[in-house]
Amino acid sequence: MVAAAVVAAAERRALPVLGAGYSYRRAYRPETYAHRARIGVLEIVAEHFMFGDAESDRELDLLAEHFTLVPHGLDLSLGSADGIDEAYVERFAALVERVRAPWWSEHIAFTRAGDVRIGHLAPLPFTEEALDVVARNLEAARRRIGDVPCALENIAAPFVLPGATMSEAQFLTQLVERTGCGLLLDVENVSANAVNFGGDPEAFMDALPANSVVQLHVAGGEWIDGSYVDSHARAISDSVWKLVESACRRFPVKAIVVERDERLPPFAELLAEIECARAIGEATGRWR
């Protein structure tokens, strides 16, 4: 167990440094190519391409020629007690292989139970049973996806499931130790959870293993009906940028990905956020 953890940590350290980029949106296609020298990594939402037609495949291949692509899953549902959808994993694996991804990522959540598909991320209870489920599903996914490393992302919890037997940080730590996966730490989600349910983001990050985080997500949220929502619809706040810097000082971060899903701004604004992420990575010694 200890030897396996050491090997997994070494593998995480060996991941390539990609720098700063963003979660690709077709609306920004021309600008993305025009500014490709300033974009170190493009994260692609797997569902946008894994069911694609010939045109979508051509777009994907062209992107893969010009950028390092990291497929990001939304609906693998690693937390489903019913297991994962084999047909979905097949498509996901084909996508990872097609773009020659350095790693892939998915959320620590469930999106499906029985025959009901929620269409959004739902939280897991922080229990041994949930750990077993994620580890088992991940193993099944890896049997098909192969040796390409994965990174698991913390979510912004819409609610907290009672019955936890450990903290979220302990849950993530055990997941890293059991699976050998790195973490995709969504800094905005850490901040949103602290705002909505209490807690200190810095203490949360302190509680994670120092070598666990390989990638960061950063986005802007907003207040809706009394809750702070990780909407990816606003500019990134100063407090979240400070957490990004703090995370970069703590963890061997290989990539920072800016997310923007709604109220898409002019590309120049997004590019400025990518530049800011890149500068933080440089200032903290994560890349040049």
């Binding site: 045109e55 009901v116 209870p125 049973e129 809706i224 009906d225």
Partner: protein, 228 residues
């Protein structure tokens, strides 16, 4: 596993609780049942009393906020996929779409948001007169026409706007269909309506003029022809 076979004070039985939560998140009737008939809800989902208490402890406000976030996500996709209809309808588009989202679950799998938006367009345009081609398709044993769950006129949309929505949805179908021939007969000059909305010009004063639009899609190529 049946509820009576588990301890009620232990950790949540994940499979049962996930089925309950997924249904709560996607089904308004189930949410009402949890509030009004919790014991019956627990029986349906095989929840022990302690588990029922834990599901209820999430709180209705948090669950509704979650449901809202699901529906907002679908709305954002609808605005992205039907930009002209959303612009023409203005703030009312949100309410119209959310009425659809509350009743019709999000589809699964390939292009689920596209299919969601097309289902919305079908619901909102249900009062359009069917074209002869629609009548033929409806009587075909191979028909893939979806039976609408909403009553006629349930999503109240102005006639010209309803046609714009149908027109935009037809483009969406043509974009995603490997092969398609579609003919629609409109009461308004729908292409002029679309152009006016795109340019931010007044559109709701355009006089009725029967217009036939034909879409063709094959091998990744698409074309349309308007007559009228």
């Amino acid at each position: 596993m049946r509820a009576g076979h588990r301890r009620s004070d232990g950790p949540l039985a994940l499979a049962e609780v996930q089925r309950a939560l997924a249904t709560l998140a996607t089904n308004e009737v189930t949410r009402d049942r949890l509030r009004d008939e919790p014991e019956s809800f627990a029986r349906d989902f095989g929840l022990a009393p302690g588990e029922l208490a834990q599901v209820r402890a999430i709180g209705e406000r948090r669950m509704l906020a979650y449901v809202d976030s699901l529906q907002r996500k679908r709305l954002a996709e609808a605005v992205r996929l039907l930009p002209l209809s959303a612009r023409a309808d203005g703030p009312a588009f949100r309410g119209t779409f959310l009425r659809h989202a509350r009743r019709v679950p999000l589809a699964a799998g390939k292009a689920r948001y596209v299919r969601d938006v097309l289902a919305f367009a079908r619901n909102a345009t249900v009062t359009l007169s069917p074209s002869p081609f629609d009548k033929l398709r409806a009587t075909s044993p191979r028909s893939t026409t979806v039976t609408l769950s909403l009553s006629k006129g349930d999503l109240d949309v102005a006639p010209a706007l309803r046609e714009l929505l149908d027109y935009e949805a037809a483009w969406l179908r043509a974009a995603f269909a490997p092969a398609l021939v579609r003919v629609r007969v409109y009461a308004f000059p729908v292409q002029r309506v679309a152009r006016a909305v795109a340019r931010g010009e007044p559109w709701d004063g355009l006089a009725r003029r029967r217009t036939v639009v034909i879409w063709l899609a094959a091998g990744g190529r698409r074309a349309s022809l308007a007559l009228g």
